[in-house]
Symmetry: C2
Subunit: 258 residues, 2 copies
DNA sequence: CCATCTTTGTGCACGCGTTCACAAAGGCAT
DNA sequence: ATGCCTTTGTGAACGCGTGCACAAAGATGG
C-alpha cells in the first residue's frame, strides 16, 4: 500500500471496515469495465479475479454493503455499480483543488481519470507569481493568495498538495483553516492535522524503498555470502555496543544472517 | 494507503513484518532530517513523533532489526540511518527504468527525490517514435523496442510503469521477461505477474475515492435526512430484491441508515 | 411442483499488527 | 561505588482482517 491513513483510531466507519473501503474502488473499476462491455451479471469468482482479490474476501466485502447479488446467478453489474458508487459518495460531485502546479501538479491536472469519477478540478493554485493566469490543462492557475476565497466560493472539501515538502505543512494548515477536511499529500512529509481531517499520502520514494527491500532479499537468498562495502559509520554512541543477536558482532555486520 | 502489494501470501520476509518494512522509509526520512541538523541522538518518543507514529510501535519495529539504541539515552542518529539503509538495501545502487514518458512519466523523471536515495534512472522508455531521442530531465528517451536490451545491459531489476492502462499488462510482461522482478505501477489496472515478482501500485483515483467515502460520511453525520437524486438504475435482476437490512426497502435506498 | 445445481452470504478460526505496561539496562550525579 | 532517573526492549492481551468451508437461497429444467 502505497497508501496510509494518518492518525484517527481506525474507527470502522458506519460498520464498513477500512480495508473494505479501500477495495471498493477496485471493484468499481472492474465493474465499470464489465458494464462498458454490456455484461449483465457477474459471479463473485469472476469479479474477484478481475479485481485481483480472493472471491471470499469480495463476498464478505459486499456483505457489509447489503445483500445485493442473487444466489445461483451472481451480481447485477449495473445495480452493483450504482450501489458502490453511492456508498463511496460518487453520486455527487467533489470539487478538488490542486496546490503546487509544478511537474507533478501539472501532470495531475492533465490527468483524465480525475474527472471520470465525479472529481472536478475546481482550481489550480501556485505561489509562484509567474504561474498566475497561465493555463494548465485548460484551467488558469490562480495565486496562492486566493486560496481561502477559492475554497470557500466553491465549497471545496478535498485538497491535493503537490508543493515541495517544505511548504506542505503550511499549505495544509491554510487548506484546513479554509474548510478542507480531506487531503491527498504528494509531498514527502508527515502532515499534522486536527481531528476530523483525513490525510492520505502518496510517496514514490517510499514505494521504491519497499521494493528495494524485497529486491535485496531475493538477491540475498541465492547468493548468501557476499562482501559488504566498508562500514560508513561508527558504532553506537559511547560504550561499544554488544549486539543481542548472535553471529554478527556489533560493528561491521554481515550482509544478512540468511 | 495508497499502496498495496499484489498477491504473495504475506510471507514475513526474514522475520521483519511487512508493516514494519513499510514504515522504515518513514523513520529513515525523519532520521536523515535529524542528521542534517547534526542531532547526535534521538529518543523513540521524539523520533516517533517526527515520523507520525506511536513510540511503542517504533520501538517494536526497531526491535526486529536488532538491539540498536541505548537505554536511558535513545538512538544514535547516524548509526541508525546506516542500519535502516542497509536493511532496506539502500547501500547499493538500484538502476530503474521508467516506461511511458507522458505527463506523469516526465514528472517522475524530473523528480529529484528519485536519485536522492540510491535510485538511479537508467533509462526512459516510450513507444512513441516522436519521443525517441528527445531529452527529458537530461536523459534521452529511448524507444520501446530497446526495452529488453536496456534492462539486460544495465542489470535493471526495478521498473516503473507510467503508460496508459491498456498497455500496462503488456509492458509488464516484457519487463518481467527481460529480468525485472519489482514493478511500481501507476496505471489503473491490476497487473498479473508470476511468483517472485513484486508489484506495488499507486492509484490517485483510488485515493480520492477513499477520501470521498469519508467525506460523505462526515457530511452525512451532521445532516442526516437528505433527499437522494432519482434512482439511476433498475432494481436487481429478475425478481424484486428483498433487502435483508431493515429500514430501506429495496429500490430507492435512503441516503444512510445513520 | 419437485429435484438439482449453482452461487451467495456468513460463522468460525487463525494469524498479523497494534498497544499497553513494565522489568531490565544503562547513564549520571553524588 | 551506589542509587536514581530515563528510556529501551518485549511479553502479553486485544482487535482487525483474511480465508475456509458450508448451509441456505434461488434459478432452472423436467
Ligand atoms: N515529480 C514527481 O514525480 C514527484 C513524485 C513524488 C513526489 N513528489 C513530490 O511532489 C512535490 C512536487 O513535486 P514537483 O516535482 O512537481 O516539484 P516542483 O518544484 O516542480 O513544483 C512545486 C510547485 O509548488 C509551488 N509552490 C511552492 N510553494 C508553494 C506554496 N506555499 N503554495 C503554493 N504553491 C507552492 C512552486 O511554485 C512549484 O510550482 C514535491 O514535494 C515532491 O517531493 C514529486
Ligand atoms: N497524470 C497523472 O497524474 C496520473 C495520475 C494517476 C495515474 N495516472 C496514470 O498513469 C499513466 C500515464 O498517465 P499520463 O497522464 O502520463 O498519460 P500520457 O498519455 O500523457 O502518457 C502515456 C505515455 O505512454 C506512452 N506509451 C503508450 N503505450 C506504450 C507502450 N506500450 N510502451 C511504452 N510507452 C507507451 C505514450 O507514448 C505516452 O507518452 C496512465 O495509465 C494514467 O492513468 C496518471
Amino acid at each position: 500500500m502505497a497508501t496510509g491513513r494518518t492518525h484517527r483510531p481506525a474507527t470502522r466507519s458506519r460498520g464498513i471496515p477500512e480495508a473494505t473501503v479501500a477495495r471498493l474502488p477496485l471493484y468499481l473499476r472492474a465493474l465499470t469495465a464489465l458494464s462498458e462491455r454490456s455484461v449483465p451479471t457477474v459471479s463473485s469468482e469472476e469479479l474477484a479475479s478481475a479485481a485481483g482479490v480472493n472471491s471470499a474476501k469480495l463476498r464478505k466485502d459486499f456483505s457489509y454493503l447489503g445483500s445485493y447479488g442473487t444466489r445461483g446467478v451472481g451480481y447485477d453489474v449495473e445495480y452493483l455499480v450504482y450501489q458502490i458508487s453511492r456508498e463511496l459518495g460518487l453520486t455527487q460531485d467533489w470539487p478538488v483543488v490542486i496546490v503546487g502546479i509544478g511537474n507533478l501538479g501539472a501532470a495531475l491536472a492533465n490527468y483524465g481519470g480525475f474527472a471520470s469519477r465525479g472529481f472536478r478540478v475546481a482550481a489550480l493554485i501556485d505561489a509562484d507569481p509567474a504561474m498566475s493566469g497561465k493555463p494548465v490543462a485548460g484551467i488558469a492557475v490562480q495565486h496562492a493568495d486566493e486560496l481561502e476565497k477559492i475554497i470557500s466560493d466553491n465549497g471545496v472539501s478535498i485538497g491535493v498538495i503537490a508543493t515541495p515538502a517544505g511548504s506542505a505543512q503550511q499549505v495544509c494548515e491554510r487548506l484546513v483553516a479554509a474548510g478542507v477536511t480531506s487531503i491527498l499529500n504528494f509531498a514527502p512529509t508527515v502532515l499534522t492535522v486536527p481531528d476530523g481531517v483525513d490525510v492520505r499520502k502518496v510517496d514514490l520514494s517510499i514505494e521504491l524503498q519497499i521494493l528495494a527491500f524485497h529486491e535485496q532479499r531475493k538477491a540475498g537468498e541465492e547468493a548468501p555470502p557476499e562482501e559488504e562495502t566498508a562500514p560508513p559509520v561508527a558504532p553506537p554512541a559511547a560504550t561499544v555496543k554488544k549486539r543481542t543477536d548472535p553471529g554478527s558482532d556489533g560493528d561491521v555486520p554481515a550482509v544478512m544472517p540468511a
